[in-house]
Point group: D2
Chain length 339, copies 4
């Protein structure tokens, strides 16, 4: 931490800050400059509460230097985590593809989509049984009935089931019927839910909150890992900005940014990230080119009749085309790494 | 809802959209224009799923006209709701002041602050027992112990206790010890929590999410009301923007915006809304001048030793000054209404 | 400036950074910490280019400490600047009110509005002769003809004329016909224009850019002052955020933020800041309560026929009401300062 | 345009709106709904000023349907524009690469970089002679001296020169020494400059403003085209959001969004779009995968000594690697189009 004193800070105020630092058991490094003094702090374990200094007389600013996360860092584990979901993986050499409808609406719909997903070579099937909807009057999902359909899809096609838990009770249910717990953007800082997921034997897919900074997102993963569950996959799904030509602004720079700090795999959701059918495939290509470990894609056999997020769902044909395209990009990207 | 066809949409595509509208039991109003046709829909109850039309051939855009909320609207109840918390009110003639520390840290701290809050004439005491913290390594609150201290404050000073519930179990506890359930910004779309609060006999303080649109915020209130609890107070607490001179950007225009649509009272949190001690009082004055029904303010007897949000907490002296100032503005504002 | 080294930075990398600092003629203050070393720099005049260090091996981050502005700071001039526009002032004891139509449309319109503005006791008249419009097909202003009408208004009513210059040639014209040069939000970083205004004998009203940080805004003022013109008034007019219930999000916290750093007066534009007629008056009250030195308000004798920004223009009656209301708040706020 | 009446709008208010529509010579289409009436307008040429209706009694909302642009649209010209810069093109089959330093600092620096750019097969050289800098105290470019160096680079290497004009006089100079006028993000709504560029024989590279919506950006291009210059290339260079892990948030979804509306070519600037050296190459790959017509890249022979934007400049080696990588992605993307 660095404490910057005001231009006109008195000698006495500087001494007082130094005293408090020493009182806390740390080392103070005063640096008198041409116009003002700055005081470095070392010897502390992790973050010193900036609070303690921010309102002291003569202090202009307190600058945090040490980052508050531990378990997610490359400092702790330099090689990338490979998350295992049964015999499938995310974070390894293969591009992970998670596909399926926004919401499970019926057995027929789920199987029609799963058939295509399975044939495409993807290993993961997504589908919501409990849907977080902005309005209480919108379709909220089939509930446990939906989870049972998902379990059937797994039995028939061998696809791994990724499905969202909205609360702690929801995690119990996903543990019964699914293979991977999805935590949605709205719940990225639902700390009770994060802690519960951290005590689950299942891996967790953690979506970035709609207005989450990189630090907040990584600290949400840290909440899960702090409870003992190290099988966490991050998912960039777009952030809220002033731009109105997309539902959200897909922040692909988040992928190299995460890579630079963390060993956790990171995938991209171009469906929510754009909210527009015609943008999903180009942005999926871009996500693979930027280095994402996988994609999560909304597919529907009849998007125009979807009960949720129809405008962004791909048709089965569009999905097949997407898989072909991203595989070509993925191969070119692998070549890139060995140039 | 209005469906705008593409410039080159075929006659047949227009007919198909009209058929689907009628098939759904609604009335279609095609309006052929100079360059393109638009089709209005009437006869629907509330929102027709835009999805059904958005991907139909020839459709350029689907524009929602009807808003998706009901219970919160002035259409339903033209006069403002007055929320009763015991013998105190929010939304009536008197400016409601809710004050107290970010987190309850000890009995001594709580009582030192409560003494001042009580003397100032405020009727509500705030204080967190369960704190949602970005990092799992930060102070998380005293838990039930904190709630017991709050209950003591109520007994001694007669202040109404406003405290946050982080999950459904947390609501049970607030019902035991408190008077009003606070739902924080991070949980504004935690729908399980909203529904649980909607089944509580206690009134609810619903903070706006950090990136919530007006519609999303009002629909979160609608979730609570849809379960039967009509005692909801909205709280503007700043939104996340590119600006870095404050912790959040306080959006005071939200107050007249809510007023124009909803009968629910709305208060302002200038402490989180700015994150800076020196800004709290001027923004509190502005909040009262813009027409807020109340304020929620963080006060600490020793802000420099606060375990949470110290940089924005007022000292006891600053708080007293704030109350004096906002009362003057409040009186001037009342005069305004009778000019 | 503070240079934070990576956790695993080699001794040799640290020495190299220190060498470069000394080579530049500054003093290096290495602070070895538990996990990483930070190096402070002192002895520099103003900002050292961070660039020089950011890509050196072993460097994790470079943190700027010294702010890059000089002339606008309270460090340089502790008492607030009072800008003189003829015999009227901005930044003194009196609340400055600048009012008039978005665009000058005709002599009749200008005089109808000016009559009311004059009667209200305001000292400044605003009106655009050259309008920056998003579309080339929208009304672009009357040009020099509009300026001549403004000059007539000045002659008849004694109001000071505030009008926008879009380019360097525009400044020449404002110097001919007006009293104060307005630089609009879109031109806040049009540095050629800023420099030209800095060489003008007229005072300058500098609007904040729609996405300008506090630093960028203050540095734009610094551009004007660096050319010798110290008569600068800042104007907060709303920033662009995700929120859609207003045209822009009015950032009233910018007023105390500017105050804390700069001696320049700062006013508020609640018309562009909200874009909605019904919000202008409440936000004007809030602006005065937060401590603004003045207001700039759009008024039109027939807002429903305005050629520009009609939805936010007040009627003459609404404007009169606004002036009454803000005066009451202004008096209460003055009382505040002497409590 | 669609006018939505309030729920309680009187019959008389509806008639009045209809009268005004007819008075303006358009056709009114009233659609009485279950709860409120909406009125469609047809027969108008382009945008009817919403203003005229927004404040009429009983009107709840006015919704624009027709977009305000003409010349940039696919409606007007369905096939993509290929911009010719001498014998090089942007928008055709080949990926356009524009590379060079942020600012021209010396003849030696320019030639060192140009040598590498030329060898890489790129056809365009970028370099600033007049730099728009946030602070008046930062390096502002070599001015005409810099332009002369650029002209030499053209003579020696045959590279086309792309360089920024900050004002109308700057366009005169680029016409003397360069091949393509760059208009920077800060000047995207400097309408005097846009109009001047619209009267130039040179093609124009128009960067997106830091907070520009898609409509504003396209309308800025419309300003240039309305003056007769149809040789416009759009450039996405990142927008300002709350995110702090990059200098700007690169909005790659803007590329398919532009494609869907406009025939103009669109390129991407991953250097400004991220502001971080290590992100430039991955985001360049993503830009090509998403379908951009080209890239503009900052390269420096000694980034650590750059006088401007050093942290984002690639070294010569990194640039060579980038060109190899984007070519592989470009080939895979071409394959995509013929699958």
């Amino acid at each position: 931490m660095l404490i910057v004193m005001q231009v006109d800070a008195a000698e006495r105020q500087i001494s007082e800050v130094v005293s408090v630092i020493m009182e806390l058991g740390f080392k103070a490094h005063p640096m008198p400059g041409a116009t003002r003094t700055a005081i470095g702090i070392t010897g502390n374990q992790g973050a010193v509460e900036a609070t303690r200094f921010e309102n002291m007389p003569g202090v202009a600013e307190v600058i945090r230097v040490t980052k508050p996360y531990k378990l997610i860092t490359l400092d702790l584990q330099p090689e990338k985590t490979i998350v295992h979901v049964g015999d499938a993986t995310i974070g390894g050499d293969e591009l992970a593809i998670i596909a399926g409808p926004c919401a499970i609406e019926s057995r027929a719909q789920a199987f029609a989509v799963a058939e295509t997903v399975h044939k495409s070579g993807a290993r993961f099937f997504r589908g919501g049984a409990y849907k977080p909807r902005t309005s209480p009057y919108d379709f909220q999902g089939l509930g446990e009935e939906g989870l049972k359909i998902l379990a059937e899809v797994r039995d028939v096609y061998g696809l791994k089931i990724v499905t969202e838990a909205l609360d702690e009770a929801g995690v119990d249910l996903v543990e019964c019927y699914g293979d991977m717990i999805q935590i949605g953007a709205r719940n990225m800082q639902n700390f009770s839910l994060l802690r519960r997921a951290g005590r689950s034997p299942l891996p967790v897919l953690l979506k970035r909150g709609i207005a989450a900074t990189l630090d907040e997102w990584l600290l949400a993963a840290e909440y899960i890992m702090a409870e003992g569950n190290y099988q966490v996959v991050l998912c960039e799904r777009g952030i809220r900005t002033f731009a109105q030509h997309t539902r959200n602004t897909l922040d692909l720079a988040a992928i190299p940014a995460v890579r630079r700090i963390s060993h956790l795999p990171v995938i991209v959701d171009p469906s929510h990230g754009t909210g527009k059918n015609y943008m999903v495939t180009p942005l999926a290509r871009a996500a693979v080119a930027v280095g994402a470990d996988g994609l999560i894609i909304e597919v529907h056999d009849q998007p125009e009749r979807a009960l949720c997020d129809g405008p962004q769902a791909l048709t089965l044909e569009q999905y097949d085309q997407l898989v072909d395209e991203v595989r070509l990009i993925s191969e070119a990207s692998s070549a890139v790494l060995v140039i």
